[in-house]
Amino acid sequence: MAVYKRRYNPYGGTLTPQWSRFFVLTRYAFAELFKSRFFVILLILSLVPILFFAGYIFVANNKTVQLLMQMRSAGLFSVENEYFIMIMVAQTQVAFLLNCWVGPVLIAGDLTNGALPLFLSRPFSRADYVLGKLAALGLLLSAVTWIPGLLLFSLQAGLARNGWIWSHMWMVVPIIFCSAIWILMLSLISLAVSASVKLRIVATGVIFISFFIPAGLGEMYNSIMGSYWGRLLNFTEMFRLILAKGFRERTGLLGPLSRNEIPVPAAWGVLILVCVLSVVILNARLKAREVVRG
């Protein structure tokens, strides 16, 4: 057909349901991420500790292997709440590194290239946009935190006897909820930074700084003012506090137990406040227009 005979025809195919439109962005974000060889290597490396954790569980439940290794001793291999705390601490730190690599590019590219008006001119809200980007980070970080955590829990439940699964079923809740708050906080901070700082190199630095510097300042505040509330600025420590409470940890594995301890609701409050602040920044930065100064 000659070009001049062509006329505008609206799209006649099936539309993506409104509730799952945000997932289109997630799909494209993943496609973009997996193009990077470095990212694939980083993802594989972040799952390596899980293999070691699984190996430990296998040895802990296999008396023959223990005999062969001549390491048979009561209490040497135990898979209890402390062990799952270790898994969670290790994997949430891995998630932090993964987030620092992935997060800065998610929104910055769209803002730099002026793509946001194109997204928002479609039947696609700002909330959908943020949800799509958040889902990309959320799914990725879930793959290295609570999903392997639950798989290891299932492995232990399958190998252990004497009704281990029923006496430890409560641990499923902290595995999921503690991971969820950490993932949500990391993802929202990354998206807020990505929306505010367009350069990847600077954004990565800002994400790191937003975790390390407040912690240092908080400690400084404590030592100068003779207080302990400065620890509220140490997000990692607040997360560990929540983790210790969630896993009913009383041995001081995550730091010495003292009377001067931040209450757990305050720790939750800080992490939620960080999430809210990030959402406020996202709300301010994500507009379907851009003012160009100069």
Binding site: L97, F212, M220, S223
Partner: protein
């Protein structure tokens, strides 16, 4: 080729170099960099990194002005100041500020697409590296030396005559001198590391944080491995030892004491070696603005 031949060749090379020209080129580069980078909006974060401790100490002075200011309190505040310098400035403040200042020297030009102007002028790339490094060092040193000085002044000024006699008649002035020396050395050491990282990696932040981890855990490694860290040399120059216990003690462990002049020379040698590596790396550098 014998050693004598090598020395003779080195001497011939040294006499053939136009050192005066290099010197003037470096001074122009330093001036340009300072004019462009010392007072900009982008630097606000770095100023905050340096000056927030001063604000916290100022708050402490205002709120605790009615507390008795005796020798015991001076002792406590000396420990607090040592904690601020050794834990905050060396481990976080100067580290991240140097990360921001020195990685931006070349990566920033790459991002702003102006590096080719620098490469097109008739200046050797080594001169460019040294000039930019000196400019970054001047910015970092000026910023953090004034901040440390302000912390020291605010901390002891509230003690009045007792504070004055502690500073001028006691160990205070010596401690201040040590802190200023160590701050300058920290800026130079971290600066050299981050300059090299920015020439080696496209995004030097993640390797930078790996360096941070290495600087933290190096205390548990053998001596020769510790010598490859900046903090190893700084720890030996700190005038006040911190009574830290638990995991934080890793920041202050000194396996084998080293004389101060050896520590200063060691750190300068490490920085010069890393700078020489940067001079080698700059020759490999190609401008690919599209990849940024």
């Amino acid at each position: 080729m014998s050693a004598q031949d090598l020395v003779a060749r080195a001497q011939k090379w040294a006499t053939e170099q136009p050192w005066r020209l290099y010197g003037s080129q470096i001074s122009i580069l330093v001036r340009n960099e300072l004019r462009r980078n010392l007072f900009t909006r982008r630097r606000i974060g770095i100023y905050l990194l340096a000056w927030v401790p001063v604000l916290i100490i100022l708050t402490h002075v205002i709120f605790d002005r009615n507390q008795p200011a005796g020798p015991a309190q001076i002792e406590t505040d000396t420990q607090v100041l040592a904690g601020i310098v050794q834990l905050y400035y060396f481990r976080l403040g100067i580290f991240f500020a140097c990360m921001a200042i020195f990685t931006w020297l070349f990566r920033g030009e790459m991002v702003e697409r102006t590096l080719h102007y620098q490469f097109l002028v008739p200046v050797r790339r080594e001169v460019l590296v040294v000039g930019k490094f000196l400019a970054g060092s001047v910015v970092a040193i000026v910023l953090f030396e004034t901040a440390v000085l302000a912390c020291f002044y605010v901390m002891y000024s509230r003690f009045g005559s007792t504070g004055k006699s502690y500073v001028f008649g006691g160990p205070g002035l010596g401690q201040l001198g040590s802190y200023l020396l160590v701050t300058a050395l920290a800026c130079i050491g971290y600066g050299a590391v981050f300059l090299a990282l920015s020439l080696l990696f496209k995004n030097p932040i993640v390797p930078g944080v790996v360096i941070m981890g290495w600087e933290t855990i190096a205390a548990i490694f053998p001596d020769w491995a510790q010598m490859l860290t900046v903090t190893f040399y700084l720890k030996h120059l700190c005038p006040v030892s911190l009574p830290l216990s638990g995991p934080l003690a890793i920041f202050t462990i000194v396996a084998e004491p080293v004389p101060p002049f050896v520590a200063v020379l060691g750190l300068l040698l490490l920085s010069i070696t890393i700078l020489a590596l940067s001079c080698f790396l700059i020759h490999r550098m190609e401008i690919t603005y599209t990849a940024e």
